[in-house]
Amino acid sequence: MKFALAPLAAALLLLATSGNPARAIDDPGKLLPPGPGKDLVLEHCQACHSVTLIVQQHISEKGWTGELVKMEKWGSTLPADDNAAVAAYLEKYFNPDSPDGPPRMRLTPKQPG
């Protein structure tokens, strides 16, 4: 989606979530498409970061495998035996040719003081 649609998307999100945009935006189950590997991603990746980091990527299966190996060294709880399945799942939806998802806009509160 073009960046220019951001205001519209944000307005729709606000309407849809009636004053609590964070909850709907961050619903990780809705950000990830169904498929083998989705549950593993939800279970193991969110200890350190939200899935929003994942769904914006456009990388190859080799690239995803590299990321999973790096995260394994960094303490990920994903069993190494599952790396191949998760890399295949992620590559299917978040590959070099996959479309960008809609922008997620966040209202920042006024800084205190």
């Binding site: 649609l5 951001a6 350190c48 970061h49 456009h58 920042t108 509160p109 003081g113």
Partner: protein, 387 residues
Amino acid sequence: MPVPRLTAAFSRSRFLAGASALAGAAVPLRVAAAPQRYELRELVARPYDLETPLQYFRSFITPTEAFFVRSHFGPPADWPPAAFALEIKGLVQKPVSLTLADLRALPSHSVTCVIQCAGNGRAFYRPRPAGAQWHWGAVGNARFTGVKLKDVIARAGGLQGSPAHLGVVPADHAPSPQTPLFNRSIPIEKALDEDTILAYDMNDAPLNVEHGGPLRLIVPGWAGDNHVKWLLSISPQTDETHGFYMDTGYRYPDVLGEPGVAIPPEKTHHVTDMPIKSIIANPLDGETVSAGHFTVQGVAFTSRGEIDRVEVSSDGGASWQPAELGPDRAKYAWRLWQADVQLKPGAATLSARAFDTAGGAQPAAQEWNPSGYFWNVYHSVGVEVRA
């Protein structure tokens, strides 16, 4: 909407601010109150990576609430501790811990500077490097106030021996102890520069936690990774700090290569000074505008020399006209610019390219680098012009 001349706009707003304060006069419509809430593009919800939409680049100072946010691991829970103190240790004569009150008692120094994430524009490289997919908005220009690092070192009795680096340790860390820390170092010459500060204020208010409060290192002219947030300690030291974020991350190839060809770390260098870049803040990509006269607005910055000129094209880069540069207000700040163009009905592409006095010029295409750093292809926006 007509845009006043740059220089006139600056002096007029200063005059009006002063006049209103003195006389309590009604504020004219043109000087509308700043919006209370800002929408940022959320790249990562936890830890926060937030990108500034380009309409907020029409002012010299980027409001704190609109300023992009980059977090490696984010501040710890319940940060900052009530008894916060910065530790100054390592190769100093008298290691010391300084509270915020201690630091505020030292002479203050303000620097208005651009901070830009090295990965700003990563999303435009092909193939796309992994990482936060920033477009144009991982940058901002703000006024930081704090204490010169050299004064803090002096407060610890000065250097001991001849350390070549200053180690910097922040409070953020991942849940797993196996994840590398964002421990960094900068060369001691840059640390002792007159404009390198430990900032406790941003845009004249206490530095908030999103932006690294209570204390953030400000290294004017250098890429965002050097401006370490949530400081715990600093330590003059003999060697560089080592670890993922020094030896692997935030490095740029000495010689660029084809995608997929590995470049060994010893053939890379730290990202420091930033190449020339300009960004169009008005109009926005995809907007519909009226035919006739239109004032294109934007910002330009470089770490290499000064901004020499900005040129604008309204025909997709076939012809270029000079933009009017706003005043050069601070050494490390950006320059506002604007250019009047005539638009005919139909689709139009507006482009802007900047040049610096060090010979830097924004290219029409850019060679790839593995981490997607320092994108500076000249910016183009597409608009629909209605009669």
